[in-house]
Amino acid sequence: MSRSWKLWVGGPVLAFLVLIPFLELQGGYLQTLGFLTFLYITMSTAWNILGGYAGQTSFGHATFYGLGAYTTCILTLRGIPALLTIPVAGMIASLYGLLWGYPCLRLRGQYFAIATIGVGEATRLLMLNLDDLIKNNSLLKGFLQKGVLTGGATGLMLPTPPDIQAYATAFYYGVMGLMFFALFVSWRVKNGKFGLGLFAINMDMDAAETVGVNTTRYKILALMLSAFLVGISGSIYAQYVFYIDPQTVFGFPMSIAMVLMPIIGGIGTLIGPVLGAVFYIVVQDRILTANLNLGLIKLSLSSLHLLVYGGLLVLIILFEPKGLLGVHHRFNIWWNKRKRRSLAATEKA
């Protein structure tokens, strides 16, 4: 019963998503929105592997996004085919994850979270000033091309392709595939030995260790897997918009987005991060462009999104740890009870 219901809704939705590029609705606006949604679902899902399954809250995931984006731009500008740079971007992000994850994951809970904020901000500042640093160092000067490696605060630009429409469509499907890949990975992890180990770590690290879980290795592997997916997302983002700068791709808001989406949707679940990402994009898209007319007062809602996210976060932590998914679940229970009660009432009558 419920399965067929899901099929009936899921099928058309999927078909609609696949067809979006052909419908050319609202001048490609929906397509861009779809692209962003898929990208954010990928990142939300990726963050959830470390933050949701293993319970290690990272405020530093923008480092992977940024590194992925920069890897692609730097390599592409040196003549390497852009598509080839995607796996490289993932791998570099993953290695960076190993670099800071190995020491930081020895910290627990709150300390890890704080350290990741530090790592994220330090990385952003480093990237902002990398060119200047290299310029002052005679050994490293060779990495600069026309005096530029990361382009400092101005960032880097990629050349635009001739047929931009077809290019964008190709990326739309590409990132859709990436999203399904991420979801598949997340599903495999959740239902396999790996996920069981991560959950055990999440619940009680010492107990997990004494029943044989190599907690250090598992946490690092989760971080690297997560970083890999986010790095690829960054790479694809860079290729889609042709322009990146450190404040955008390494910025704290990017890290916050990755924390908020899975928590809002339902942390530690498979579908929660998807819900959260969709919610996030919709809020951002609607609110950033909306104006509220209250008689004479015209209130721009353009910067209400933090209020929405922050408020939701507070409510979720206080009342419903499983986020939107948990609310949905409660609603179902309530609904079934009501149905049963009305059924009983009709039987009596």
Binding site: F199, A200, M203, D206, A207, E209, T210, V211, G212, N214
Partner: protein, 251 residues
């Protein structure tokens, strides 16, 4: 019988405090050894030294002749030693079955390739420990006796050769104590060596082949239960003040 576990001058400091000082001990295969001593004597600390959670600051611990005193807990578990926790530590938001599956997946059994299907193994262990009917409960919803059983079940699922039980009987009512004692005896029959800390004298005296007594981090006596119980030093340190209540435990 072969020596399974041996401690040589095991010592452990916390800051300035010596929680363990030069403790020598041996556990032979197939034995049940009881570890007793007043509160704060260092029993739990000794177990943590063995499992690698708090490695000894000085001294060595040998398992089948191999030095394990510098290994990580998960490594020691995979070699065949695991423990239950005095303060139970279930994975609260996981089902009872999943709790036990963690042990089956990551413990010694899986590595040796004996266990192909961790779920089957977990179900078998649940059957053995009498938790089958609660397999799908979340661990946080269990009662204390069931949580203690879950501790044992999860540890068993790793297929240990040596099982360290830290006060698994404490806090249970007399019927439950009997059930747990029977379980421990069954474990021994299935070939697992047991090293157990216990305050409930009835439990420890009825199952142990041998007792080791700690006081203020030092070993003060060792031997068959009745002999140890007669040892004046032990009576002074352990039963001293409340000999009467100690006696009532015997009854």
């Amino acid at each position: 019988m072969a020596i399974l576990l041996e401690g040589r001058k095991v010592s452990r400091n916390f800051g300035g405090l010596a929680a363990l000082l030069n403790v020598n001990f041996q556990v032979r295969s197939g034995e049940i050894v009881g570890l007793i001593g007043p509160n704060g004597a260092g029993k739990t600390t000794l177990f943590r030294c063995i499992t690698g959670v708090h490695p000894p600051t000085f001294g060595r611990i040998l398992f089948k002749g191999e030095d394990i005193s510098k290994l990580m807990p998960h490594h020691i578990c995979v070699m065949g030693i695991t423990n239950t926790h005095q303060v139970v530590k279930p994975f609260p938001e996981m089902t009872v079955l999943d709790n036990v599956r963690v042990g089956a997946f990551f413990g010694k059994g899986w590595v040796r390739g004996e266990v192909k299907d961790a779920t089957q193994e977990a179900l078998r262990v649940l059957e053995f420990t009498g938790l089958t009917s609660k397999a799908n409960f979340l661990a946080r919803n269990l009662t204390l006796p069931d949580r203690k059983r879950l501790e044992v079940a999860r540890a068993l699922a790793t297929r240990p050769e040596l099982l360290l039980l830290d006060e698994v009987v404490a806090g249970l009512n007399p019927t439950e104590v009997d059930r747990m004692i029977r379980l421990i005896q069954q474990l021994r029959e299935s070939g697992i060596t047991i090293f157990m800390v216990e305050h409930v004298m009835r439990a420890v005296l009825s199952v142990s082949d041998r007792l080791i007594v700690l006081n203020f981090g030092e070993k003060i006596a060792e031997g068959p239960p009745d002999e140890v119980a007669r040892n004046p030093q032990v009576i002074e340190a352990y039963l001293g003040k409340n000999y009467a209540s100690g006696k009532s435990h015997y009854a």
